[in-house]
Amino acid sequence: MTGLGKYLAMARTSIEIWFVYRTTFVLNMIGSVFYVFAMFYLWQTIFLGSPGALAGFTWPEMKAYLLVSFVLGSLMPWFAEWNMSMDLKEGRIAIDLARPIDFQASRFASAVGPVPLEFCSAVAVGAVVAFMFGGIALPADGAHAAVFLVSAALATLIRFGLVYCVSMTAFWTTGTDGITVGRMAVQNLLSGALIPLVFFPDWLRAVAAVLPFQGMISTPALTYLGKMDAPTTALMLGVQAFWAIGLILLGRLAWRGAQRVVTINGG
């Protein structure tokens, strides 16, 4: 792809915009503190009821799992479908289309720009809560940490690919609220964001295994904890890469169809 510079510039701009909304940021932080606190408290209660390990998870591991789940869940806006449907409703999409930019790449640049900031603030919030609950397990060594970072990056790509694909439905339907809520419900369950997949009954685990969602939370969280042996880890990273690429290509295909049906509202 030529002209990477323009996408870097767009990513930089999205960071600038991120800084403009200071109040929103602070409120989000406060909101997420409550969320993390609630998750930790809930699981602490479960572990207190059955001391030792639950489905192979010790309490310190579970805390680490929850933290990883929270941090990865904080990356990239979850409201992309909503943004897209607003852009369509208000006809703003015409502006994007009149520019010499690839639509998907520009959306990606804008979404990925603030990721480092989102990452740091989520880690800060999560670390404070984790500290209150007596600390968490860390990756066994540098190699594990590096593999985790690769897996986390792939998770972010899957997240983008999925949300972009779903947001394409905005071109065919007028509202995407229901679709967004549905996507999030399925994603929260099948990614392992709320409950590690090992707690699932076999059939549901089998369902999760063939869908992209597990690559968003479960796989990176398990690499963080070093719960998989080397071949399994390699396989799971491969599966993540497959979904990341597959969803991004699917998004491009959907966009081609969308371009044919696009109507610009408001004159």
Partner: protein
């Protein structure tokens, strides 16, 4: 070779048909009915490089839809369209590099960041060489008077400032074609003048091709030599502005202010065949064909019969003409001329 060439260009939209009220909504929910609307209906036109064309029509006539096809935003339903050697929707990005677009109703500036940052982003998106960018920015800043609000976010500036900034942004990469979709909507006279002057200078100095849609006829007279009128998706006129005036805006009106009401209209009427006379108390108005009579002849015919205190002449206005066309009171060339000439001109 024309820079824009459209043949049989058509865009069909599917519209949901809903009966009014709750019952209608309920029915529509279970049984969707649609009808096709031809927003643009087999239009043919071509534009030479360096031309400035006003593209007019009543609301909903298909102007914006045409512009959006030209810019590659909308995919035509049928017909062919070549802009600067490309099919816009197939090579959308490549096409976007050589065009500038201003939509009067929406901004392309980033809402939350200073205006100048939006410009910088345009520099990166269009990959404008640094020197050219600096020169253009300096020049446009001066002509359009942007310095005062350059460092404010777009959300904090006035509509007039926003439009000037939008125009600057659309031209930073020296586009070959500039599309202006109602660029002066809602602006005060001073800003309008500034914008028109700027656009005209681009046409004259750089040979930029301009396609302008507007409801403000001042825009047309200041910028455009040629006008294309579209109604119900069809081109109903395509020709130059002067010819349009000569052919259809032939009538001038002289208003005489009289000292006393005229005793009888008959002798005046007799002296002015083929003119339309109206009186209203102390006023006498004569509508005449400016190619058949000189204003002096009319005055000479009126003066002997009445005592004239004062008089003034109304020139034919493009505005009236266009209004008549929109209202269907005046039909221009019945089949849109292919040659770009007025029928009968």
């Amino acid at each position: 070779m024309p820079i824009i060439e459209a043949r049989g260009l058509t865009k069909k939209f599917r519209q949901a048909v809903k009966e009014p009220g709750l019952v209608g909504s309920f029915k529509h929910f279970f049984n969707r009915k649609y009808k096709d609307k031809l927003a643009v209906d087999h239009i043919d036109f071509s534009v030479e490089a360096g031309e400035s064309v006003a593209y007019l029509g009543p609301n909903g006539a298909g102007k914006s839809t045409t512009i959006k096809m030209l810019t590659g935003i909308l995919v035509p339903t049928s017909g062919s369209l070549i802009v600067d050697g490309l099919v816009p929707h197939e090579k959308r990005q490549q096409n976007a590099r050589s065009i500038g677009v201003v939509f009067g109703q929406r901004t392309q500036l980033w809402w939350d960041i200073p205006v100048v940052e939006s410009f910088n982003l345009a520099r990166d998106m269009y990959e404008i060489p640094v020197k050219r960018y600096r020169d253009n920015l300096a020049q446009f800043t001066e002509i359009l008077g942007l310095a005062k609000f350059m460092n404010l976010p777009a959300a904090k500036i006035s509509l007039g400032q926003r439009m000037r900034a939008d125009l600057c942004m659309a031209l930073l990469h020296d586009p070959k074609i500039l599309y202006l979709d109602e660029p002066t909507i809602g602006l005060d006279i001073a800003v309008k003048d500034r914008i028109r002057q700027f656009v005209r200078s681009r046409v004259e100095e750089r040979g930029t091709t301009v396609i302008l849609t507007t409801h403000d006829l001042g825009d047309i007279e200041d910028i455009c030599k040629r006008i294309v009128i579209i109604d119900n998706g069809k081109i109903i006129h395509d020709g130059d502005l002067a010819a349009l005036k000569d052919n259809y805006a032939r009538d001038r009106v002289i208003h005489f202010q009289l000292a006393r009401p005229p005793e009888s209209m008959a002798p005046i009427c007799a002296g002015l065949p083929a003119c339309e006379l109206t009186t209203d108390g102390l006023r006498l108005s004569v509508r005449f064909d400016r190619f058949k009579f000189a204003a002096g002849e009319i005055a000479a015919a009126v003066m002997p019969h009445v005592e004239v205190v004062d008089f003034r002449i109304d020139e034919p206005e493009v505005e009236d003409l266009i209004r008549k066309v929109y209202l269907g009171q005046l039909s221009l060339s019945p089949d849109a001329p292919e040659t770009g000439e007025l029928a009968g001109a």
